[in-house]
Symmetry: C2
Subunit: 219 residues, 2 copies
């Protein structure tokens, strides 16, 4: 090693792999970060591992994000687009019976549970880090829970208005939460137990059956 090299510390002559415009590199890093954070949690995630996943040098991450904390923030924001636009569109444009609407929405919810790997990662992050990252809890409250509750309440009101559901369905304040709970529990079980979780299809069938029977107007 030359004296100059020793004095200046690192010398850093290397061959860059491939130069990409930021708008292509950024999402690459974000995707790698989301994976890593979801798999290991914030504290367990390694910047070096993010770099490896993205196929770049660690230093490059800091060219785009000033710190691990900011990268985490950005990762969350990146996969935190509104989740319920589908459901809300379906709700507002619906023509048929409330029972049919309920069945549709439940089918939609369980389908989302099964697919959407990225959404599962976000959900895991929310469960894991919400306590330490208030923005995560706020995001869940505003963008997921509140919107889901709103949808459930709208269905209940529609069913009561049309006489399909008994009036109590719109009067019980906790009912909306109870109605959507099986989907939440299902995703938690899926997350913890994977293949060993209770069967989602069976739950979906029983869920719909119980709701239709439990909400039905008394004869």
């Amino acid at each position: 090693m030359t004296e100059a090299a020793a004095a200046t510390g690192g010398d850093g002559r290397q061959e860059p792999r491939a130069r990409l415009p930021p708008e292509a590199r950024m999402p690459q890093i974000l995707a790698a970060a989301i994976e890593e954070f979801a798999e290991r949690g914030y504290a367990g995630a390694r910047m070096a591992a993010v770099a490896r996943r993205a196929g770049i040098a660690k230093g490059l991450i800091y060219h785009y994000f000033p710190s691990k904390a900011e990268l985490f923030q950005a990762s969350i924001t990146a996969c935190a687009r509104p989740v319920f636009e589908d459901a809300e569109r379906r709700l507002s444009g619906f023509e048929g019976s409330a029972r049919q609407l309920l069945a549709d929405l439940i089918a939609l919810a369980y389908a989302r549970l099964r697919e959407e790997k990225q959404e599962r990662a976000l959900f895991r992050l929310i469960l894991t880090e919400a306590e330490r990252v208030p923005e995560l809890a706020e995001f869940y409250r505003r963008e997921i829970l509140d919107r889901a509750l709103g949808i459930a309440r709208a269905v209940l009101r529609a069913g009561v208005a049309s006489g399909e559901f008994r009036p109590a369905a719109a009067a019980l304040p906790g009912l909306a939460a109870v109605i959507m709970a099986p989907a939440v529990a299902g995703s938690v079980w899926q997350m913890i137990l994977g293949e060993a979780a209770p069967d989602l299809a069976a739950m979906q069938a029983a869920h719909l059956d119980l709701l239709l029977a439990g909400l039905g107007a008394a004869p």
Copy 2:
């Protein structure tokens, strides 16, 4: 510093705080560890913080546990005693109607959700670390989910046998999971959102109401 002290490295003359028998110190350390792990997760937990919480020196932890991993394992085992003995006893000795039994068990479940700080810590640990610690997932499956499902199925069978519930209640394979789901979702929300979570009392009322209506035998 003397030459001898410098040569030997640390010399370690200090005043021990209070000497306790292992059977008293051990649970102290475990309690501190459970707190720390539950609050920060495995990777985020610091051995020094566990020691601080327990009011001892870090080195003492290693007198009782060989490593962080083993301490984690022991912490889990320590707070992982059977959770459903209450409910199962109540179930086997019950005399009244299935409806009453169902109401009792639901009340019991929601009461547990509200109290039992240590159990919440365990639940958080399960959610957070299950993927990396297979024992946690197994414990949840065996000691919590399976037993809860067993209780739910027993109640359903009893209600169908007595004619209180419609026969489908025992025939739908996913129903037991759906029945207990609101309690799971409730605890998740409590965990993520704390005070901002949906009201547990309202959920409890709506939950029972929905079940009684949805399970009831058709007239």
